[in-house]
């Protein structure tokens, strides 16, 4: 149940408002989805998927190994011939069907995703699912217009796409990968993350409902070894990966010297820059969205707050006051702001990095809130007195932890923002239009939000500079990764 973090007398006290679980029917076990059929793993291995907010076992899922990867790639290869030869208008209609079925089943999928991932229902319902449907709808329309996409006449698909996605936005990352791949005429073998396999398996059922030809989409739940086997498979033509920078580099080495086309969407350490003329209340909301959306488990999170020195005290007071009103607890409760951390492993990593922050001399503050007894939880936390040399200012924490640094001049803000191996996202808060443009121009980051943060859209290209990866997902740009151009 919901954990109250303010006294019952407070105007912020809410009665529990849980979303019903009955809308989703999770089977006790799931197979791999290969060539249109659910099937056991070749070696019979299974693993359990937990609800991170309760540690309850949700289902037991077949665990793909190398033999299964090979089987799935063969199925995708076989399906490629017909799928790529379909008129684009026909492929488009399959994708439109999928988009519509996702809209129809969106409440079910939102509850499922919240159960399996631990993120608040407010986010799955209002952000993840609408974006998933929109992404399929958007790329559906491209399927018969590729001649006009700016890549020359009749651009060809690559073949079989091997796709490995993370656990932070399971179904949305699936959509980002599968929608452009299918629109361009490729077939897909996708490995969801081991902690969040369920929505991808429900998606397999959506493919079945949509009448998608067998083998066009294959889903292989499993661990890193299955992902490695998929990216290394000699009959895969395209590798797309979203995840950690370390694994991304390993994949880049794996595909070196081959003809495989590679796109990587990796880590980040986004700077959220607040100038002294920024509207404080709006900036505070933006900072909260930037680092506490999805418990900070977002590659483009604004995990470094760069605040102009003259307004530091005022801003931090407001920010702390706001963080004290965030409601942490049952992810299915419609009033919950902060859900569970996705796994024990991730919680341990966040905990260790926060301890490093303290040990290195940064000052720690956590919102006063009671954490539920079971499940994986971490209170919204910020570090002040952070220098650029501190681990919490350099390493991606991937959790609800904000590092606060200060600056005096715009020049210094830009230099500090760019002082990172990453280059995925950044935020700028100021009322001065010309300053927004000047600063945005000089930030080495793939996505910049001015007076807003963490906005996404299927028409908007997303991806990083530097070690945040390469290639873009979304928009016309997102087609290139799946075309022989």
């Amino acid at each position: 149940m919901k954990t109250e973090n303010v006294s019952p007398a407070s105007p912020f006290a809410y009665a529990p408002a849980p979303e019903s679980r009955s809308v989703v029917d999770i089977a006790p076990s799931y197979g791999l989805f290969i060539d249109g059929e659910f099937t056991e793993a070749a070696d019979g291995k299974v693993f359990k998927s937990l609800s991170p907010s309760t540690e309850e076992v949700l289902s037991e899922v077949a665990q793909a190994g190398e033999a299964d990867v090979d089987r799935a790639v063969k199925a995708a290869r076989k399906a490629f011939e017909k799928w790529s030869a379909l008129p684009g208008a026909e492929r488009a209609k399959y994708l439109f069907r999928i988009a519509r079925i996702i809209q129809e089943r969106s409440r079910e999928l939102a509850v499922l995703e919240t159960l399996d991932n631990g993120k608040p229902i407010k986010e799955t319902r209002d952000a993840d699912l609408p974006l998933v449907a929109a992404h399929f709808f958007y790329y559906a329309g491209w399927a018969d217009k590729l001649d006009h996409a700016g890549y020359g006449a009749n651009p060809r698909p690559l073949g079989v796409a091997g796709q490995v996605i993370p656990w932070n936005f399971p179904l949305l990352m699936l959509a980002w990968k599968i929608a452009p791949a299918l629109a361009t005429g490729n077939t897909v073998v996708l490995k969801p993350a081991e902690t969040t396999p369920l929505s991808a398996l429900f998606f397999a059922d959506i493919c079945r409902q949509a009448g998608l030809p067998k083998g066009v989409v294959n889903i292989l739940p499993g661990y890193g070894d299955a992902g490695a086997a998929l990216t290394a498979h000699p009959d895969v033509n395209k590798v797309a990966f979203t995840g950690s920078t370390a694994v991304g580099k390993q994949i880049a080495r794996t595909v070196a010297g081959t003809d495989k086309k590679l796109t990587l969407e990796l880590g980040g350490k986004g700077a959220n820059i607040v100038f002294d003329d920024a509207p404080i209340d709006q900036a505070v909301e933006g900072i909260v969205t930037g680092i506490f959306f999805n418990q900070g488990q977002v590659c483009c999170a604004g995990s470094r707050l760069l605040v102009q020195e003259s307004i530091q005290d005022e801003l931090l007071d407001s920010l702390k006051r706001r963080l004290s009103t965030l409601r942490l607890g049952d992810p299915l409760d419609k009033n919950t702001d902060i859900g569970a951390i996705n796994s024990a492993e991730q919680l341990a990593r966040i905990t260790a990095l926060a301890e490093t922050g303290e040990a290195e001399g940064a000052e720690r503050w956590s919102a006063p809130c009671e954490l539920p007894a079971s499940g994986y939880w971490f209170a919204p936390t910020l570090f002040t007195n952070v220098t650029q040399a501190h681990t919490v200012a350099r390493d991606e924490i991937f959790g609800p932890v904000l590092s606060v640094l200060t600056f005096r001049t715009p020049e210094e803000a830009v230099a500090k923002a760019n002082n990172t191996q990453y280059g995925l996202s950044a935020g700028i808060w100021t009322e001065k239009g010309s300053r927004i443009l000047a600063v945005a121009n000089r930030l080495r980051a793939g996505v910049v939000w001015a007076n807003t943060f963490n906005k996404f859209d299927p028409t908007s290209p997303f991806g990083g500079y530097k070690e945040s990866g390469f290639g873009r997902e979304g928009g016309r740009h997102g087609l290139e990764a799946y075309l022989d151009v």
Binding site: K249, A440, K455, D457, T459, S460
Partner: protein, 309 residues
């Protein structure tokens, strides 16, 4: 006029081009460059032409420092200015056409007329890319119709410092075909010249130095490709790598080294191995070393009583 035939010609000392200057290799090393008797002839079999600098790893690192230093100014120069400077390169080359025809003929074992055609094509290629500098942004960027009250704009920006391994056979047209798009897009370049035929590349440095191109935007190294390419592929302050002149084994090793800081890698393309680079280029080499930046701006409203119309 019998003494005219006895005049001794003045040889040129070929030097590296780094940071807008013409240093010798810090290692003090040189290697012999000879004429090619045919396009495929190996070095060492023809007539001696010159001693080229045998650049070292240190020279390569110095070149990266120069390229990084030049990146800020070059990447933020207006596209119009970059276009004018690239066009100026074509103008300067046109004036030194005879010199390059001779050097290309000797380097690649071509007849004078074939070498002239190669040089003409190279000059025209500078003109082609000069015209691209202020057009590519509109072609690959633009406003994105997001479903919300935001103005959302995608713009291409240069990747940074790019190491270019120039084609081994096409010592001049190939060279120009790989350098020009990298700098047209606003990147700066460290170029490893054709190992056996580096002289046209070293002479190109002299042309670039007199074309208003800021020092360090293009840096030219001659020497052993593998010796120079590996440290550059692994260099943490290099952002991109064009493998045009690397053979398959070297290309793989370099791509693996480049993964350490996730350099943007352009693998050897089919066009690079057809040796003559005479095919009209597309935009692929321009876009490979461009990043896409997308900026979201709230559009707001005119207030409660206002109307967007």
């Amino acid at each position: 006029m019998s003494d005219k035939s006895e005049r001794l010609t003045v040889f040129k000392t070929y030097k590296l081009y780094v940071g807008g200057k013409f240093p010798r290799s810090e290692s003090g090393r040189v290697y012999e460059v000879t004429t090619a008797t045919s396009a495929a002839a190996a070095a060492g079999k023809g007539k001696w032409l010159a001693n080229a600098p045998l650049a070292s790893r240190k020279d390569a690192r110095d070149a990266v420092v120069a390229a990084r230093k030049a990146f800020g100014g070059w990447s933020t120069a207006t596209a119009y200015l970059r276009g004018q400077i690239l066009y100026r390169v074509a103008e300067m080359l046109e004036g030194r056409r005879d010199q390059f025809v001779r050097e290309v003929a000797e380097a690649e074992g071509l007849s004078k007329s074939k070498a002239a055609a190669v040089v003409d094509a190279a000059i025209d290629r500078w003109v082609w890319y000069a015209g691209w500098t202020d057009k590519i942004t509109q072609v690959v960027g633009g406003a994105n119709p997001v479903a919300g009250p935001y103005f959302n704009l995608s713009t291409p920006e240069p990747t940074g410092v790019v190491t270019v391994i120039a084609p081994q056979e096409s010592s001049f047209l190939g060279l120009v075909s790989v350098i020009a798009p990298v700098i047209a897009a606003g990147n700066t370049a460290v170029v490893i010249a054709s190992e056996k035929s580096p002289l046209p590349a070293l002479s190109l440095g002299e042309v670039l130095a007199t074309s208003d191109l800021p020092g360090g935007v293009v840096n030219v190294l001659s020497g052993r490709t593998a010796e120079l390419a590996l440290p550059l592929a692994a260099h943490q302050d290099v952002n991109g790598l064009d493998l045009a002149g690397a053979d398959a084994d070297l290309a793989k090793d370099l791509e693996i080294a480049a993964a350490d800081n996730l350099k943007r890698v352009l693998r050897p393309q089919a066009v690079d191995t057809d040796a003559d680079f005479s095919t009209a280029p597309g935009t692929h080499r321009l876009t490979t070393f461009l990043e896409t930046k997308t900026v979201w701006h709230p559009t707001g409203s005119l207030g409660a009583s206002g109307s967007a119309y």
